[in-house]
């Protein structure tokens, strides 16, 4: 494990020095890397490799999603935009109680209006391969949110609306302060071996979630809040129908750069990636963003 930490440190330092070259190469090849592209607010987070140390055991997590190409319909329409793109993701954890090794392929689509109704819709259709159990899970997610008008001169400008960027004063260079988005959506899952071996749970979930980003110190200290409330619509073997999950994280970006950050996260609720079991987790992480 010491070897892994050493390699990770070397990679992190190298990534800072070679960032421009890496970004240029990714840009030229239309490649985007994130924690995930599953339609969740984790899409805004960088891919990460976390190492956890506790009294009982040490383990690591890998969460990485890659987007390599996107297609755009109605590319001459000035009122709406429709894009879709394939993605590949890998999520691995070596934690003894909830080991996972998931490889998924998905097709995402995004639709956005730009007139009076400033809504945007997102969809994610995914097939997830569990490399430990050798089984496939199928899921579809659709969600809707609202993009407020950011034009300060406009008559319908309202700083309290979702998607409006808050800014610091002129003295602080109008630096970005924060914004929030609420989402309403539905998810359908066909999950084999979810609770009982050789049995597939098929269910739909409606959800509401709130995402908030706030910089308490411009470019340096960021707070992220991700709070979701889900409700299972069908009768299933899952013990609870109401599934809340909230997380709050504090990220420190040294030297006012945005490629590397140190993060602290507290998470409480029911984990969708671990059979909706109750979790309360505190973690620190090193995040690298391209």
């Amino acid at each position: 494990m010491k070897k892994a930490i050493l390699l990770l440190t070397i990679f992190s330092i190298y990534s800072l020095y070679s960032q421009d070259k890496v970004i240029d190469w990714l840009n030229n090849n239309n490649i985007t890397i994130r924690k995930t592209f599953d339609g969740s607010t984790n899409e805004n987070k960088p891919a990460n490799i976390n190492f956890f140390k506790s009294n009982t055991n040490d383990y690591f997590n890998i969460d990485i999603g890659i987007k390599v190409i996107s297609w755009e319909f109605k590319s001459k329409d000035s009122n709406r935009s429709f894009i879709f793109y394939p993605i590949i993701e890998w999520h691995k954890s070596t934690l003894e109680e909830s080991k996972k090794d998931l490889l998924s392929v998905a097709m995402n689509s995004e639709f956005q209006f730009n007139k009076n109704l400033r809504l945007f819709l997102q969809s994610n259709f995914a097939i997830k391969r569990d490399l430990i159990k050798n089984i496939n899970e199928l899921s579809w997610l659709g969600q809707i949110s609202y993009q407020g008008n950011n034009s300060r001169e406009s008559t319908d400008f309202n700083p309290y609306l979702p998607g409006v960027s808050w800014r610091y004063s002129e003295e602080k260079g109008y630096e970005f302060m924060g914004r929030y988005y609420p989402y309403l959506g539905i998810k359908y899952r066909e999950a084999p071996d979810f609770l009982v071996t050789d049995s597939t749970e098929t269910f739909s979930i409606i959800f509401f979630k709130l995402y908030l980003e706030y910089w308490i110190s411009p470019r340096t200290i960021q707070i992220l809040v991700d709070s979701r409330f889900k409700r299972i619509l069908n009768n299933t073997k899952i013990p609870t129908k109401n599934i809340p999950l909230s997380s709050i994280s504090l990220n420190y970006y040294p030297w006012k750069q945005d490629a590397l950050s140190l993060g602290f996260e507290y998470k409480n609720g029911y984990d969708p990636d671990d059979k909706y079991s109750k979790i309360e987790l505190t973690s620190i992480s090193l995040n690298i963003k391209f």
Partner: protein, 88 residues
């Protein structure tokens, strides 16, 4: 047909309308997706559609793609040049 200066001025106005960052304080080397502008994906689509409408007024055959604006290192100046090249 607008001059290159007018196109640059209008492109900056649209960046300001989508980001809430004053156009008078925009600098050529600012990157759209990074501090201090910090446009996210939804705001970049909003900006694309504004620019698309603007380009269409002068050159109906040309358009602006979301993928062109979502490039990580796209600066204010590079965007103004892009729009200028699509119109002139």
């Amino acid at each position: 047909m607008p001059s290159k200066e007018e196109i640059f001025k209008n492109a900056k106005k649209f960046i300001s309308q989508s980001s809430g960052f004053p156009s008078s304080a925009l600098k050529a080397n600012f990157i759209l997706k990074k501090h201090p502008i910090m446009l996210n994906d939804s705001q970049l689509v909003d900006l694309t559609l504004k620019l698309r409408s603007y380009v269409k007024k002068f050159n109906a055959e040309n358009t602006v793609l979301v993928s062109e604006l979502k490039k990580s290192n796209l600066t204010v100046e590079a965007l103004c040049e892009l729009i200028s090249n699509k119109i002139l």
